[in-house]
Subunit: 162 residues, 2 copies
DNA sequence: GCGCGAGTTCAGTCTTGACTGAACGATATG
DNA sequence: CATATCGTTCAGTCAAGACTGAACTCGCGC
């Protein structure tokens, strides 16, 4: 099928990149983001530098609408930043400084919500449901410590970045 | 609308439970599980003890098919256990010992996959893409330390349980 | 061994949301 | 001022999967 040695390496490099970008798509999907957002992230991990709006559409073979929506989403998440090039009317994007931090902040938030739900239920449940109370408290503790844990990780990452 | 004092508390207790169960449904959804699986989990957090197959369907107002599929799913995840009552042909279910551990193990697994994807890409990308290599390594480290972190949390929970 | 009640599987419906092409402002440039 | 080129928004299509009712299979009890 393919040449041997570096010829093969050269040929499969693009494939590897494409493969990586696709994998990032499914990773994002598992985190509740649209696949294209993940693929954009993957693309920016490979080509970090400022990339134009239109180039994104061409390289990833997606519509301008998708570029617009998903770049705005990632921008809101703090994963990428929108810049402009002097003398060019197009928008450009590049990876933000701490691209992954915000994603973790998202999971912290979700855990806080879950913990709050358990706590509220424990408060509202009749006092004589002992078992329910106990298990609800356990659930709250679980999510609370999981959230706490992630928050420490977040702090560790922030420290490491400067 | 409602009576005052404990009358209201008595009335809203059921609402609170229903509300909690629904919330667990959306929490589960955010984790990639079907909503009904989450609601089942919520139900078992409230009523821990052995509950029959048919009662699950009635209390949660879902079809037997859904009971079957989602109990099997939760059973596979190690969140609930299937038991049997002597003299009753129905299956009974109860919360497992460490119900939440398995869920965390799932996220650890996903992080490992993401980390592996970044590592593979870093290996396959041409050596002269310096920026890409660096960012891929960062991504791998991110997921690796996130996974490591969760694993420690897991260990801490296991220790606390005995 | 027959039938009934248990859980599973199947086929179909319905909802959800990701994605797109086209219409729409907005803005800089000629 | 006109126009071309941005990015956004809108309406529509399409696919994925959650859920259900009905058919099915298995096994116990009469």
């Amino acid at each position: 099928m393919s040449m041997h040695g570096q010829a093969q390496a050269a040929e499969t490099a693009d494939d590897a990149v494409a493969d990586f970008i696709d994998r990032m798509g499914v990773v994002a999907q598992a985190d509740g983001l649209p696949p294209i957002a993940g693929r954009l992230m993957g693309f920016f991990v490979i080509h970090g530098g400022p990339v134009s709006f239109s180039e994104l559409g061409e390289r990833l073979q997606i519509s301008r609408a998708s570029v617009s929506n998903n770049t705005r989403l990632l921008e809101g998440l703090g994963v990428i930043e929108r810049t402009s090039m002097p003398g060019d009317r197009q928008d450009y994007f590049r990876l933000a400084e701490a691209p992954y931090r915000r994603l973790l902040e998202g999971v912290v938030e979700r855990m806080a919500r879950a913990s709050a739900a358990a706590e509220k239920a424990a408060r509202d449940v009749p006092a004589d449901w002992e078992g329910a109370r106990r298990r609800l408290d356990e659930l709250r503790d679980f999510y609370a410590s999981a959230g706490e844990n992630t928050r420490t990780l977040l702090a560790a990452l922030a420290r490491q970045e400067r």
